[in-house]
């Protein structure tokens, strides 16, 4: 190696050279990330200020008109309210069930691996296939739920055709899908708590509920925060499950299951109102960012013993 580059390199210390190579390697994913995620996101913000129907090249600047139209659209608010309903029903259900199953699994001495696999299978099942099976399961005419209800002499409503129930019927599918993932996360969190804390507390006379409240829960805080933030993002971005559960009428009867992402998809890629769709995306982005920051500040507590 000769020339100025060679000299400069020889002048660097080993430490500096190591740092340099670390940053060089980090730069590759960074460039990728900037090009694939950040640039299009910035592009969406630009599009949200223009009127554009994809088909034409005409892209007049319209200022905040797209935001005004989206925010005055009844369907947008219905989708936004629905999205919050999904989150309000789904996140607690997923966390509580996931935690309960994880605690039980930790006690299971035998077949633990089998149980974990069983709970994890839905997470790796293609969601579109699952959605179609669940539609049959919910069928009031052919589904096992309706058969069971019939045996017990209970009414069997058409869950996916009833506006007040359809959203929760889809939430159940999402909870089922993510439960295994949630269990694994909680199990990892539980394993990370050192046994000695429990032993020390037991020596001091602490028993069952106290151990759980003062050791398990606080030391699981990081896991809990991650789970809540992750689940929030999942529920606020719901799309595939919703689209496939009521495929013939996307968004369910009278829009009762539509989500913000489905609203964006319909507006942008079915109706080609790209500007408005981008505006709705920006609103969703702001909401997601706000929620995530809020959760991180409110929920994060450092716990040390």
């Amino acid at each position: 190696m000769s020339g100025p580059a060679g000299r400069a390199r020889r002048g660097l210390s080993l430490r500096a050279r190591r740092t340099l190579s670390a940053y060089t390697f980090l730069a590759v994913p960074l460039v990728f990330f900037l090009a694939i995620r950040i640039a299009p996101a910035a592009g969406a913000m630009v599009i949200s200020l223009h009127r554009w129907n994809i088909v034409g090249t005409d892209q007049p600047w319209v200022g905040l008109a797209n935001f005004r139209e989206v925010l005055s659209d009844r369907q947008f608010w219905q989708a936004a309210t629905n999205t919050l309903r999904y989150a309000a029903a789904g996140i607690p259900a997923q966390l509580v069930l996931g935690f309960a199953v994880a605690l039980l699994l930790r006690r299971a001495a035998r077949f633990r691996g089998l149980f974990r696999t069983v709970y994890f299978v839905p997470f790796v099942t293609p969601v579109v296939a699952a959605a179609w099976v669940w539609q049959w399961m919910y069928s009031p005419n052919f589904g096992p739920l309706a058969m069971l209800a019939g045996r017990l002499g209970l009414p069997a409503p058409a869950l996916l055709r009833t506006p007040v129930l359809a959203l929760y019927a889809i939430t159940a599918l999402v909870v089922w899908e993510y439960l295994g993932f949630q269990v694994v996360i909680f199990l990892a969190g539980l394993e990370a708590i050192p046994r000695v804390y429990y032993e020390a507390a037991a020596v001091d006379g602490a028993r069952g509920w106290d151990l759980f409240r003062h050791i398990t829960v606080p030391l699981l805080n990081a896991t809990l925060v991650f789970s809540v933030v992750y689940a929030t993002i999942v529920y606020l971005q719901l799309f595939t499950q919703v689209l496939n559960m009521t495929f013939g009428d996307p968004g369910g009867p009278l829009g009762s299951t539509a989500t913000v992402v489905l609203y964006v998809y319909t507006l942008g890629f079915q109706r080609f109102h790209m500007g408005q769709a981008a505006a709705a995306t920006v609103v969703l982005f702001a909401a997601l960012l706000g929620v995530a920051l809020l959760q991180l500040t409110v929920l994060t507590r450092r716990v040390e013993y």
Binding site: G56, W132, N141, G150, P163, F247, G248, G251, P253, F269
Partner: protein, 428 residues
Amino acid sequence: MRSAWRACGVAILVVVLGATAMAQSQPRVTITYWQYYFESKVKTMDTLIAQFEAKTPGVHVVQETFPYDSYNQKVASAIPAGQGPDVVNLYYGWLPLYVGSGYLQVLPAQAFPSTQIEREFVPMIKAAKFDGQYWALPTAVRTLALFYNKDLFSRAGLSRPPITWDEFRADAQKLTQRDAGGRITVEGFGIAPNGQDHQLLREILFRQWGTAPYSADNRRVTYNNAQGAAALAWYTDLVTKDKVGVIDFFPGGNGYRDAFNAGKAAMIVDGSFAIGAVQSGAKFPWGVALLPRRTAGGAPSNFGSFWVNGISRKATGPRLTAAVAFLKYLTSPDVQRTWLRQVGEIPASQALAADPKLAQDPVYGPFIASLPYAHATFFVDETAQRTIMLDAINEVVLNHKDPKAALDEAAAKEQKVLDDFWAKQAHK
């Protein structure tokens, strides 16, 4: 040694120049054709392209296909990005957007005179006319008809398909089967608002009950009146009062057709595009009949739709000439006949449709007989307009809303969609 190199160089030069000269003496134009992937359509198009190229020396056509679900998005975004087809296959309902945005160019009047088009093609073709000019033409068209399960009909003691809607309703009641718990196990009518029924309501029931769905200039919604409400009430009664069908009986966008093929729906209203799926799916004798009418002597009506081929603004110069020749070929009677035989879609030409052999075909006959009175809805935003009609039906079925109130609400929403479209047109 040096002279050997020189000789070699001269030889290469001669070969290159010669090749260029030969290429110039036989000009070769390549045009691109896009359609969505449907096996029989793609294969038929391959053979048609081979025949066209044999007849038109110097023109090469490349066919490219895309999955149906993403086709419209793919087509829409291609031309503005400077790529895409010269000749493109589009659903007629997308035309207002594509024409309004300058994606397509008008068909050259010399090659495609309007008067000749209107003389030769079936009437629904007018949905491809804007500003008094034609922008695209179909090879084939589709209409609706009644598919019925002959086994279930004979078991219910019915000897023929219904002729009036009253008969249809009575037949559907006889055909419906229920289990001990009262749950429907076989639908008399495979009701499907999100299948073809929203079209049935818009272009057939509304008209037969006495109201046109839209004004003649397609600018105003006109179905929200007593007649429209009576038509909607008659349709929704099939679910709420007569209980001869269940919405989403089988899940999925084509659930009603799956139910028919499984022998779980005695009748469905479906398009000629469903013939193939029923032929391969239904394992029982079935028939096709004209859609019923309000009264035996009353006026028939039907919904027509079609896929057109248009020329994008990308095609210029020799490529435009080639594209025009290709489009001429695709709309010729010969190709229409091949298309019917191999794809199973009914011809867009009046003369072919009037062919008595075709009209008497037990399967194609009813679809072809409906051509003269088939209306192709002038969609300006098909997704939105479809949802509005579905919502009107659901408001009555699920929320027990008064049909007139549901239609008033739908009309207000749809009028806004139409107004938005026409306002943008006026700006151009």
